[in-house]
């Protein structure tokens, strides 16, 4: 993974985390916050950390 993409992904994680915190502050836990959590996981899978193993690769 290029460093540029990695930094974009880390930025996306920060944006999502901030959005999640804002929603939780105003609405508490809802199904919408769970959707944001899901998007966070989706982004984490792409960053080379412990969750990255499940990223999808190119196929036939």
């Amino acid at each position: 993974m290029s460093q540029e993409l990695e930094s974009y992904l880390k930025l996306a994680l920060l944006r999502l985390e901030k959005a999640y915190e804002e929603v939780v502050k105003t609405q508490g836990y809802t199904r919408d916050t769970e959707k944001l959590k899901m998007l966070l996981e989706l982004t984490r899978e792409q960053v080379p950390n412990e969750n990255s193993r499940h990223s999808a690769s190119q196929t036939r």
């Binding site: 992904l9 999502l16 959005a19 959590k37 998007l39 499940h54 999808a56 036939r60």
Partner: protein, 536 residues
């Protein structure tokens, strides 16, 4: 009964998941299966067969693009997620099966309404405990870097309560092709194309009656085109549909790629897999009885899936030579037993043990094979709750060992040595546990210098211990992982270490107990076997 199966991993995983789904359908013939898969896996749609009635796309690529592009609003991704969840809930599923087993899928399933959910899922944003022991085990073993005694698919299927079986119908015998899948999805798992070319040339001389086919995906054309293959060797840039057609008439497939391997295994094609890099023979080998796998013996194999090879040259690739593969392929094509010639390599034959995938090492010491079998059978015995049954003491599991293994060929001395090693390892773990306990106290005092010193000593002791006692690293692999992984805080390090010590001790205690019992069973073989026969 409407069932949603969630498969959001790679293409090779999806191919394995299809095998589990077919087994599920066999047990639940009235199930109408809908499959949720990644947009990047849609090329497989054409070969999914009749088991799947509807395919729903998870727009992974699109969502990820929206999320990384700074000029796009996060809410576009949010709305798309919302649309997907609404679409899924409109289907009103009776059952949701999580074949993916990761955080993404667990959270997605939290958002889907269904009376029955199986596998990992969250409830109102919180993780819930697994339904069965297999679920706990699968989560512990396959989510980490531990050595698993079971194939990934065996563990996953049991965690979902799906009764998977190994195919016992024997090998398909296509008569037309010998296929070479020359590339994999990862450079560290590739055997060089020059070697594949040489392999084709040598085999062609012995087997002119077959058409030799180099297989590659259409998008790999530029890479494969630049290589020369011997005259008469066909190069096919096959789509999945074309690949299925070719495999139907294939006598032998030689491959390093696990996706093609899983597909061929389900079609019962005989194959020779070349496993390098992160390709793990125990976790993701070919589930096709009598297939063979060759692996290197370099200490860094198998490596992590996440990183590229840190070595200056690909040691794995260098170790597997063309003549090694030629001699094994010839034995397979001639239906002959194979005696390994290169001591630097490991050779395995895939077998069926109690409907579980099992790898029999060729030319390895009997005790090594038995040890692998004990480990698998013991866990099976424990996870299936067989210990709750009265007699025989180790149920069907120990009977399988007795039936498959000639215990007389294994010396008492080697078993006693193993018991001694287990006991030494246990003693060492107890002392390590005490050291960790001291460190916990220091953590509370926030004395980082002392903690670093203790960590250094623990690592040093570990190295000395493993060198002096020659303990098989597999048994204390969990400790090794805890010691070598990076942890942000001293407390994190100790916490991880302590849980790993506990896990390591449990593993060793189980192995110790069953080895002792096996030794006793060996001594009383006559009466034991007759007792087992009475009960079988």
């Amino acid at each position: 009964m409407k069932v949603l199966a969630v498969s959001l991993l790679r293409i090779g995983d999806l191919l394995m998941h299809m095998e589990a789904l077919r087994a599920y359908l066999h047990e639940n013939p009235s199930a109408e299966i809908h499959l949720l898969l990644n947009d990047s896996s849609m090329s497989l749609r054409s070969i999914l067969g009749e088991s799947v009635q509807k395919v729903i796309v998870f727009p992974r690529k699109e969502l990820q693009e929206i999320l990384v592009e700074q000029n796009r609003s996060l809410w576009a991704a949010f709305r798309q997620t919302q649309a997907l969840v609404t679409q899924l809930n409109n289907e009103k599923y009776d059952v949701v099966l999580n074949l993916t087993h990761n955080l993404l899928s667990a959270r997605l399933i939290d958002l889907i309404q269904a009376p029955i959910k199986k596998g990992a899922y969250f409830v109102n944003g919180k993780a819930r405990p697994a339904d069965c022991q297999w679920g706990v085990y699968f989560n512990d073993i396959h989510s980490g870097a531990h050595q698993a005694p079971f194939h990934y698919l065996d563990g996953l299927a049991r965690s979902l309560d799906i009764g998977l079986t190994m195919n016992q119908n024997g090998q398909a015998r296509g008569s037309r092709y010998i296929c070479l899948q020359v590339l994999t999805s990862d450079a560290k798992k590739n055997w060089s194309m020059n070697k594949f070319s040489q392999l084709a040339a040598e085999l062609k001389e012995f087997y002119p009656e077959y058409t030799f086919v180099v297989l590659a995906a259409p998008f790999e054309k530029d890479i494969v085109q630049s290589k020369d293959f011997p005259a008469g060797v066909e190069v096919r840039y096959a789509t999945w549909v074309e690949l299925v057609k070719i495999l139907q008439d294939t006598r032998l497939l030689i491959t390093g790629d696990t996706s093609v391997q899983h597909l061929a295994a389900q079609m019962n094609v005989q194959m020779l897999s070349l496993f390098m890099g992160s390709a793990n023979v125990t976790k993701t080998g070919p589930r096709s009885v009598q297939s063979y796998v060759v692996t290197p013996s370099v200490s860094c194999y198998p490596c992590s899936h996440h990183q590229s090879c840190p070595q200056s040259t690909l040691k794995c690739e260098n170790q597997i030579q063309v003549h090694d593969v030629v001699s094994l392929a010839k034995a397979m094509l001639n239906d002959q037993a194979y005696l390994p010639q290169n001591q630097n390599l490991h050779y395995y034959q895939v077998q069926n043990r109690n409907n579980f995938y099992f790898i029999q090492g060729l030319g390895e010491e009997k005790m090594t094979t038995l040890e692998r079998e004990i480990k698998q059978i013991t866990w099976q015995f424990y996870l299936d709750h067989e210990y709750e049954n009265p007699i025989p003491p180790y149920g069907t599991a120990i009977r399988t060992i007795m039936q498959n293994t000639d215990l007389d060929e294994i010396s008492d001395a080697s078993m006693n040595l193993k018991i001694e090693q287990f006991e030494t390892a246990l003693m060492w773990l107890e002392s390590l546990d005490e050291a960790a306990q001291k460190s916990v106290r220091l953590c509370f005092r926030e004395n980082n210098d002392q903690i670093s010193e203790i960590q250094r000593k623990i690592l040093e002791t570990y190295k000395q211990f493993t060198t002096a006692n020659r303990i098989d690293h597999e048994y204390i692999q969990v400790i090794h992982n805890a010691l070598t992984e990076q942890h942000k805080t001293a407390f994190g390090f100790i916490r991880k270490l302590k849980s790993s010590i506990k896990e390591g001790m449990q593993l060793i205690q189980i192995d110790l107990k069953i080895t002792k019992d096996l030794l006793n069973a060996k001594k009383e073989r006559g009466s034991y076997v007759s007792r087992a026969r009475e009960l079988s």
